[in-house]
């Protein structure tokens, strides 16, 4: 038996629906159709009345989730694509994110964002929104990179009393497989050393973890040991694990698929520069997508986002510094 990243997400939702009567799923095409990516396949049939098709109204979808949370429910919202959450942005950042701070009433909602680029998807079905949401106080932002994390972190997201932006990567949906579901997991907010090394640290998350691990593998055959840190949750950011790694290696490269301006990689570098400047043997580096919308053609798309090739080049440059 092998379980895909997508199947892990479906199974986590199935388990949440089974174990917690407060959980329901609401989003476009999530009902009988099973979702644009089939992340809710068969769930409407198995849980009648609890997996609801929504109109194309992202603001109303997310706004209603906040109301349901006030009344004690735990809605899981599927945005069909992360990009479309822009239409519900107001409800996320001004309603969901502020509710607990303003009123002491928790807002336990999960907003699933099918995120990131896949070949041929173009500017409006490829974006990574974690940076935008991480900017706002009151939100937890998860970016699982493995099948195991997709499963355990989604379950944890449902259990958390705060709004969680769950950035699941579309490229990983079918590309990633595991033999079985995890029985235990690191908690949210903790980064993971995905591969140990002593010569430099790559801090990354989501799909870029796998590009980075491929680079680490390639470098290992040349005798260079790269440590790869998977952030798992970008907010809160596990600064301790990052700092400890940089303390071991003295070199830092941050890799993210989202646009370069500001963002998770910038935040990691800012923290290391502020708190751990003395640990660095070379200026910290970062690699992001290019500062343009995400292109449609595979040739352009492959050059737009970081890949094992561009990460390897950045890593070599950093090791020479």
């Amino acid at each position: 038996m092998s379980i895909t990243y997508l199947e892990a997400i479906r199974l986590a939702q199935r388990r949440a629906l089974t174990e917690d009567p407060r959980v329901y799923i609401y989003g476009q095409d999530v009902g009988a159709f099973g979702g644009a990516f089939k992340a809710t396949k068969n769930l409407a049939e198995e849980f009648p009345g609890r997996v609801l098709d929504a109109p194309i109204s992202e603001d109303a979808i997310i706004g209603s989730a906040v109301g349901a949370a006030i009344e004690g429910m735990r809605p899981i919202i599927e945005m069909q694509f992360a990009d479309f959450s822009a239409c519900g942005f107001n409800q996320v950042i001004n309603q969901a994110a502020t509710l607990h701070w303003r009123t002491q009433v928790p807002c336990p909602i999960v907003i699933r964002l099918p995120s990131g680029g896949t070949s041929g998807s173009g500017p409006f079905h490829s974006q990574s929104m974690e940076t935008i949401y991480a900017h706002y106080p009151g939100l937890v932002v998860m970016t699982p990179a493995t099948v195991e994390d997709a499963y355990s972190m989604l379950l944890e997201a449902v259990a958390i009393d705060d709004p969680v932006i769950f950035c699941e990567h579309k490229y990983l949906y079918y590309h990633l497989k595991a033999e079985k579901l995890p029985t235990e997991a690191l908690p949210a907010g903790k980064a993971r050393i995905a591969r140990a090394g002593r010569d430099m640290t790559i801090v990354t998350y989501s799909a870029m973890l796998h590009e980075s691990l491929a680079v680490a593998e390639e470098f290992a055959s040349e005798g260079t040991e790269i440590e790869v840190v998977d952030l798992r949750t970008v907010k809160p950011l596990d600064t301790d694990t990052v700092m400890a790694s940089v303390a071991r290696t003295g070199r830092l490269l941050c890799v993210g698929e989202s646009y370069p301006w500001g963002g998770v990689t910038a935040e990691v570098i800012a923290r290391v520069a502020c708190e751990g400047f003395g640990l660095l043997d070379a200026p910290p580096q970062r690699l992001n997508a290019k500062d343009t919308p995400v292109p449609y053609h595979p040739n352009l798309w492959a050059a737009h986002r970081p890949t094992a090739r561009s990460i390897a080049t950045a890593a070599r440059n950093l090791l020479r510094t």
Binding site: I70, P75, N90, D162
Partner: protein, 344 residues
């Protein structure tokens, strides 16, 4: 025999309406007095932020609050002092939030009209217009999940908010889910300074109801009798399975957008028109014409309202302000997921 019973019940009904009317009028007076106090505190420089009055909208607003039950949901907007009071919000909550008392429901973290007690069905508005409608929908969806059948959710907007996407999305959502939503639009002719001619061109906003497949009802917002009847009936229809109700009231905002605004842009002709009548004066005339109250009653009710507001303000002015050193500065409920920026 039959005739006697019928007559008695008509008399009972009339007596009940008289009682409701007087109760509503007294909430209107309390709201007006409270608003006037906030305005005078604003002019005295005692307010931290803006002050937003419901002057001219009390009849409509109170009719909503008074038609709801304690167990219902209410998401008022900025001109709903009256509706809030009638729904059960204590004067103390209003004063504490305006003055920023740490003992208030918002603890100084949010102020003025941004107050509520979500656990008690009173939702605290955010500033983005139309944004509370889907939240009310969500509370009603949740209650349906929980098997609570006879709840109603009411919320208020102005005509300006009908131009938002949130209004459209949420009213449509409520219609699809057949929710017991009562959406009250106070067409007070101006959204801040923008006249309704720059906001919409349909003859009446109530025409929109047909487009969403919901019941629509227009009401003269200056007339308490009509407001009580129309809003009361809509709440009842929603409660008994009639689905979403859109109410559109015609009235005029008798103040600026906020107290910082002298509203010189309001058309003088509108002020002179029936639309510009003060609903409080209209209600007083009605009370006296019907013989439901004498001038001495009106004076006594107003004096009682003034005393209640003055006492509350005096009490709150002695209460502690929030202390930045006591503030936790965390936006998350989950303690282990809080980032410790102070350590950076």
């Amino acid at each position: 025999m039959v005739e006697t019973v019928a007559r008695t019940s008509i008399t009972d009904e009339a007596a009940a309406f008289r009682e409701l009317y007087i109760k509503a009028y007294r909430w209107m007076v309390l709201a007006r007095v409270l608003d006037e106090k906030f305005a005078s505190l604003y002019r005295a420089g005692k307010m931290h932020g803006g002050v937003f009055l419901g002057k001219g909208q009390e009849a409509l607003s109170v009719s909503i609050g008074i038609s709801l039950q304690k167990s219902d949901i209410f998401a008022p907007l900025i001109r709903d002092s009256g509706g809030r009071l009638a729904f059960g919000e204590p004067v103390l909550d209003a004063v504490r939030t305006y003055l920023g008392s740490v003992l208030g429901p918002m603890r100084g973290r949010d102020g003025n009209v941004h107050r509520g007690r979500p656990r008690e069905g009173l939702l605290p508005m955010i500033s983005h217009l139309g944004a509370m409608i889907p939240v009310v929908n969500g509370t009603l969806i949740a209650r349906r999940f929980k098997g609570i059948k006879d709840s109603v959710g009411a919320t208020c907007i102005g005509e300006g908010a009908t131009s938002t996407g949130a209004f459209h999305e949420a009213l449509n959502q409520a219609a699809i889910e057949k929710l017991p939503l009562v959406l009250v639009v106070a067409n007070n002719q101006y959204a801040y300074s923008t006249p309704s001619s720059r906001q919409f061109v349909c003859r009446s906003l109530v025409e929109k109801a047909a487009g969403y497949g919901v019941t629509g009802q227009a009401v003269e917002g200056t007339d308490l009798t009509e407001c009580l009847q129309v809003v009361g009936a809509a709440v009842q229809r929603a409660r008994t399975g009639g689905g979403p109700q859109l109410i559109v009231a015609r009235l005029l905002r008798l103040c600026g957008h906020g107290e910082h605004d002298d509203a010189q842009y309001v058309d003088a002709k509108l002020k002179q028109s029936p639309l510009g009548r003060d609903c409080l004066t209209v209600a007083e005339e009605q009370l006296r014409q019907q013989g439901w109250a004498q001038a001495t009653d009106l004076a006594a009710w107003r004096a009682a309202a003034v005393e209640q507001v003055e006492d509350t303000v005096a009490k709150v002015q002695r209460e502690p302000a929030p202390d930045p050193y006591q503030e936790t500065w965390h936006a998350l409920q989950t303690s282990h997921l809080r980032e410790l920026h102070d350590e950076l």
